[in-house]
């Protein structure tokens, strides 16, 4: 079994991005890589909903892949199990990364960031203007706008997916950030994180956030799946005057499916309460321990230096945002018809560049290893659903959520 992991002639690469254009780039680079090193790269594209399961299955079967490209938050689960190799050398060789993009565990870099997504809103400028409204800047603005534009069932003001899905979870997590709510607090004496969600100010703000989203939910359609696809399709089928997404795939889909509202589709920052922070998703290469680590490092280096790299960023323009701000502002990156057409979006992205925080750095400077306990199982989504769908009291929701996390912490030990 051990021998299999060390097949030097082969690298298994599991990628979250399975857009056809991206796949074409992979194919091209892989072919070149094979030509140069003789190492064959085998791709797997399980899709973003399944990539964690795929990686888990592969490891469980004793055949870990060499490279996984996906969110660093997900990768943290692997790091905590000592499954990720130290990639500091590769990182150094390829230009390093900003602090909030790094994943450091046991003193070593475990992630080679390539790109990121910001969490922000999209709205129909035409509709807003017709009502004399502008992009909402405060929570009150947002409710007011949602209410003004709400005209069910033909049109809803906003979208608040309220179920135990990733979309629900990310919305609440982002809104918690906006209201400076923390799940955990750093306990300097223990040198560890404690659950603080149900305590003092945190609790008050958590309840406030839930209540706010409950108010907003009144102007949101009942989704049938509450998943990412619905955030986009509800918007581009003109069922909602505003929506939000992690990245600008929503714009991409609107252009493809309903081009006539594409030009009126504008980004906006999800409104702040106490902070401007939002959920930042950083993606990158992760190399698994006990695999063909050398081959994998060679490949990642090769990939990041390959001239086709730019086409890879252009696979979903504006959605795959380069990890490096220089690249964002480089002429080379901006040389793309969609980007050219929507330079406003690029400007917008640049304007919120530094405000995003990865979840594992939200509660403190130290990497928070416990975020998986609430994030992986969409506990925030549960909270939203419990409040908005089931009608539980916000206080009770917060208490239960905190209790859940504590229970899990005990189980993990």
């Amino acid at each position: 079994r051990t021998a299999r992991g060390q097949n030097k002639g082969k690298v298994v690469f599991v990628s979250e991005e399975s857009n056809p254009k991206a796949i074409a780039v992979y194919d091209k680079i892989n072919a070149d890589f094979k030509k140069e090193t003789g190492i064959e790269v085998v791709m797997e594209y399980p899709g973003f909903a399944n990539i964690a399961k795929r990686v888990a299955t592969l490891i469980a079967a004793g055949t870990p892949p060499e490279i996984v490209w996906y969110g660093a938050g997900q990768a943290m689960n692997l790091a905590l199990e000592n499954q990720l190799a130290d990639v500091g050398d590769v990182l150094k060789a390829t230009g390093g990364a900003a602090d909030n993009q790094r994943l450091i565990y046991k003193g070593a870099d475990r992630s080679i960031p390539t790109s990121q997504q910001f969490t922000y809103g999209w709205y129909r400028k035409d509709l807003f203007q017709a009502k004399g409204l502008d992009a909402p800047k405060s929570w009150e603005d947002y409710v007011k706008a949602a209410k003004a534009l709400n005209n069910p069932p033909a049109m809803y003001g906003c979208i608040v997916p309220s179920a135990e899905t990733g979309a629900s979870t990310l919305l609440l997590e982002t809104m918690f950030m906006k209201n400076n709510v923390h799940w955990f607090g750093w306990n300097a004496t223990k040198k560890d994180y404690d659950v603080v969600l149900d305590q003092g100010e945190q609790k008050k703000r958590a309840i406030e956030t839930l209540e706010y989203l409950n108010e907003l939910h009144k102007y949101s359609p009942e989704a049938s799946t509450y998943n990412w696809g619905e955030l986009m399709s509800t918007y581009f089928t003109e069922k909602a005057a505003s929506s939000w997404y992690v990245g600008s795939r929503l714009l991409d889909q609107t252009i493809a499916n309903n081009p006539k509202i594409a030009d009126a589709t504008m980004p906006f920052e999800l409104p702040r309460k106490l902070t401007d922070a939002y959920y930042l998703s950083v993606q990158g290469f992760h190399i698994l321990e006990k695999s063909n680590v050398d081959g994998a490092k060679k490949y990642v280096t090769f990939f990041l230096k390959h001239p086709e790299l730019i086409s890879w960023y252009h696979a979903v323009p504006l959605h795959i945002i380069p990890a490096s701000r220089q690249m964002l502002n480089s002429a080379k990156y901006q040389d793309n018809p969609v980007i050219q057409k929507r330079m406003d979006v690029l400007k917008f992205l640049d304007s919120i560049w530094t405000k995003g925080v990865p979840l594992y750095y939200w509660d403190g400077k130290e990497l928070n290893p416990y975020i998986g306990l609430f994030h992986n199982e969409n506990l925030a989504g549960w909270m939203l659903a419990a409040r908005n769908i089931k009608g539980m009291k916000s206080e009770q929701v917060v208490d239960e959520a905190a209790a859940q996390v504590r229970k899990k912490m005990r189980r993990v030990g």
Binding site: A56, S224, T225, Y226, N376, A386
Partner: protein, 298 residues
Amino acid sequence: MVNPRAERRAWVLGTTGPALLFLAVVAYLPIAYAVALSFFKKTAFNPAMQWVGANNYRFILEEPELWNAFGRSVLFTVGSVALQLALGLVAALLLNRAFRGRTVVRSLFVLPYLLPSIVVALVFQWLLSPEYGVVNQVLMQTGLVARPINFFGGLGTAMWSVIGMAGWQYGSFATLLILARLQAINPKLYEAAAVSGAGPLRAFWDVTLPALRTTLLVIALLRGIWMFNKFDSIWLVTHGGPLKHTETLPLYAYRLAFEEFDFGLAAAVCSVMFVVLLVGAVLYFKLFDPTREIEVGR
């Protein structure tokens, strides 16, 4: 000269051997492995297996989630099997008559069973969507409801919607088997009932139902097992939601395995399901013994 006993043995082996071999490799072996797994701690990121005895069982049996899921499983299984039998029976009785275009209609009735669950799931999501669903449109246009019903997303509706969808899809399995059985009923029995003075309802009760008994029992058994283990139909439309209201045991096991990445716990849940079904099936056979009738009532 060939020894007839040896030849016979060769035939027995040669005919049942391949099936046995296939099943051993693709079914029994994996089951044995999975059952064994339930006594180990094995998480996805740590492939090493660690013996924990009955700990996994102790853990899940103490979790209220298991019992909640069990309750939902029973509801889903009983509800959807009952619906399948009812739909299958009504459809089969109707299709057993002669009318124009019967072949087309029959094919249509059998079709749902032959479609991938994903197709059925997608079609139902599309039909029942609160925003674009034609069903909601009709309900609103006829004034039956004021607001669109969130069939798969509502707490009170999700389980019933899933049951309805499963009934629609797998009812056709029942239709098929019942229809086949109906065609094998001696039509003379209906005439005998008629000349004895029985009307159509009475004849149905006295001739059709007894003849279908075995078939209905077999369908209930098979479909019961399948629905109890049904994963994809539910998962594809609700992922167990909203708020776990459709999280049956297989979805619970799936969550343990692929969201909490604890294969040992998941295997324990599956083993519990296995035992439940085994005990259920044994009781069922004791109560009804469908096989005896299969052989006699042929």
